[in-house]
Amino acid sequence: MDIRDKIITTASTLENEYVKTFRSKGGKVFAGVCTFTPAEVIHAAGALPLRIRGTGSKATDKAEVYYSPTHCSFARHTLNQGLSGHFSFCDGIIFVSSCDHARRLYDNWGYTDSPPSVRYMMTVPHVGNEQAVIKYAEDLRRLAAFVGEQTGKTVTADSLHSSIKAYNEQRRLIGKLYEMRKRPHPAVKGTTMLYLWQTLTAIPVEEGNAILKELIETVDQNPDPMPEGAVRLFLASTHLEDPERMAAVESGRALIVNDTSCFGNGHFSAEVSEEGDPFLALAQRTLLRPSCPNIVDGFRKRLDNVEALAKEWNCDGIVFDHLQFCTIGDAEAYIYRQEFTKKNIPYISLQHELYGGGAGQVKTRMEAFTEQIANIKRNNA
């Protein structure tokens, strides 16, 4: 079996074979909603960190008793899965105050007493300054104490350093893969990467690193097929988890070669310092790197980062694909349009529901976008 098939199979369900094996050996699984819950903290407590997604969710009827249909579909689908008992294999779940829709997940989960019964609300920062780093480090210490209590394994500076090393290795391997996407024929396309991220965030880091090594070796010789006349694009996105959606975005000649998605490089980028106080190091890395739109004073840094990465990866245009009804995403998309128009960088803004709908419309837009880019390039030649 090609390693890519293994990755797709593992990504297709949250309670995958690795999770089952981990649990059968007495291990505990802690689900997290957001990139602001560092996996290292959970790993250091001896648990398996699992990034929540709506994989397998077909409807949001149950969730719409507690959320309006005009609320974020990530929140709705996740709650719907929760209400249906799909996370009962988890021993705990960590919520965040990243945005209002996500914050309500904690309230609704508790109100409906959906499994798992062990729930923790982590306050996350909304600014990226030094005071916020210190506060965030304190919150991480509290999180570590909580998870350690649940697993019976106290998180120490040493154990956290050890976890950080393991995850840094993963980041370096991912970095290597991204470097291979700079090639004229990129080693992996966006759709494969999305399956990979979903796998990596749902299996032990050690197993993830082994998969990454095998993948790097495979795609070095046998890269993902590339469309003829491929148009290299950068995906600036918030939450995008449906591989079918990604495939629709990559239809025709469109090829995603780098991204800042929160279920993507936005989550994995930047290593954590392996020196000094590990909680402070984690807080610094998460807050001081280019952030997600949840960080209110980070816009300029995000914009510059997107532009710089798009240039470095030789991208012809930028795609911003965010969740419908996400006000943070809407505002970001609007300002991106103003800024990239000023810089004459081809840009398109799309919206999606977490799952389903509108594939035909997306394909039309992406085709037109790649045609537009070809026209601009010819005019500038």
Partner: protein
């Protein structure tokens, strides 16, 4: 003594005539152009089954959302009429979910016939009878075929578009892609039943009471069955055709003064 309730909806006028002796008459007329003429016709149809003597004055009561401010008769709100009607078949109180042309609305009725609380599906129109009308037309399917098509389906298609217009093009795309008609019809019915079930869940969260499904959409047997499956409740029986529940309530209010 004869009382007549008139429910002016967005597209139809429904009228119910009741006598003190319990006779009932019904009239349902589409509104075309002159609303007053349609109202008159519906009243005549209903009154024909409940004759009254020359010396008795008929009492009237009006309700509905399609009257455009023209209160031809004394008016009671649709919720009040629905509640009054429900009280007839749920004298110990209940939850009535009315699935009409535009919205799905639910009310919780106490054992004294008072409205305790209400719930509605969101203001999006992809949750009412109009949605079914438009979809059925796009598929070339008659209302009378919907139940039998649903029963034939083995793989209901989950419609993802919330907007009626985009849902219409979504199902046309699916038909073009070879999806079976019965699967799309089943998906359509499941979508509406799901929205009704959500309203039911919202209300049963607050009070556990017997549930009744009314309104034009509830005439689809498969929709009622899907609703029961998704909400986990068994629906009680109404004592009138579900499209007349509001008009019946209006007639009872006209008769009893409350």
């Amino acid at each position: 003594m004869r009382s007549i309730g008139i429910d002016i909806g967005s597209r139809y006028v429904k009228a119910v005539a009741v006598s003190n002796g319990g006779d009932k008459g019904f009239g349902c007329v589409p509104i075309r152009g002159d609303m007053k003429a349609s109202v008159k016709k519906a009243i005549c149809e209903a009154a024909a089954a409940v004759p009254s003597s020359l010396f008795e004055k008929t009492k009237y009561r009006m309700t509905g959302t399609g009257h455009a401010g023209k209160t031809l008769y004394p008016f009671s709100s649709p919720s009040q009429c629905l509640a009054r009607s429900a009280f007839e078949f749920a004298p110990n109180g209940g939850i009535i979910i009315d699935a009409g042309a535009m919205v799905i609305e639910g009310i919780i009725l106490s054992h004294k016939g008072k409205i305790i609380d209400t719930g509605k599906n969101e203001r999006c129109s992809a949750g009412g009878g109009r949605f079914i009308e438009i979809m059925a037309k796009a598929l070339g399917v008659e209302f009378s075929q919907i139940d039998s098509l649903f029963e034939k389906s083995s793989n209901p298609y989950a419609i993802t578009s919330g907007c009626i217009v985009f849902a219409e093009s979504e199902i046309v795309t699916q038909v073009n892609a070879g999806k079976k008609l019965e699967d799309i019809v089943a998906g359509m019915i499941t979508l509406i039943a799901g929205k009704a079930a959500t309203v039911c869940d919202i209300l049963t969260e607050k009070e556990e009471r017997p549930v009744f499904l009314s309104g034009g959409l509830s005439k689809f047997k498969t929709l009622q069955k899907e609703f029961e499956r998704l909400s986990g409740v068994k629906c009680g029986k109404l004592s009138v055709d579900p499209i007349f529940t509001s008009a019946y309530g209006a007639a009872l209010i006209a008769r009893d003064g409350k």
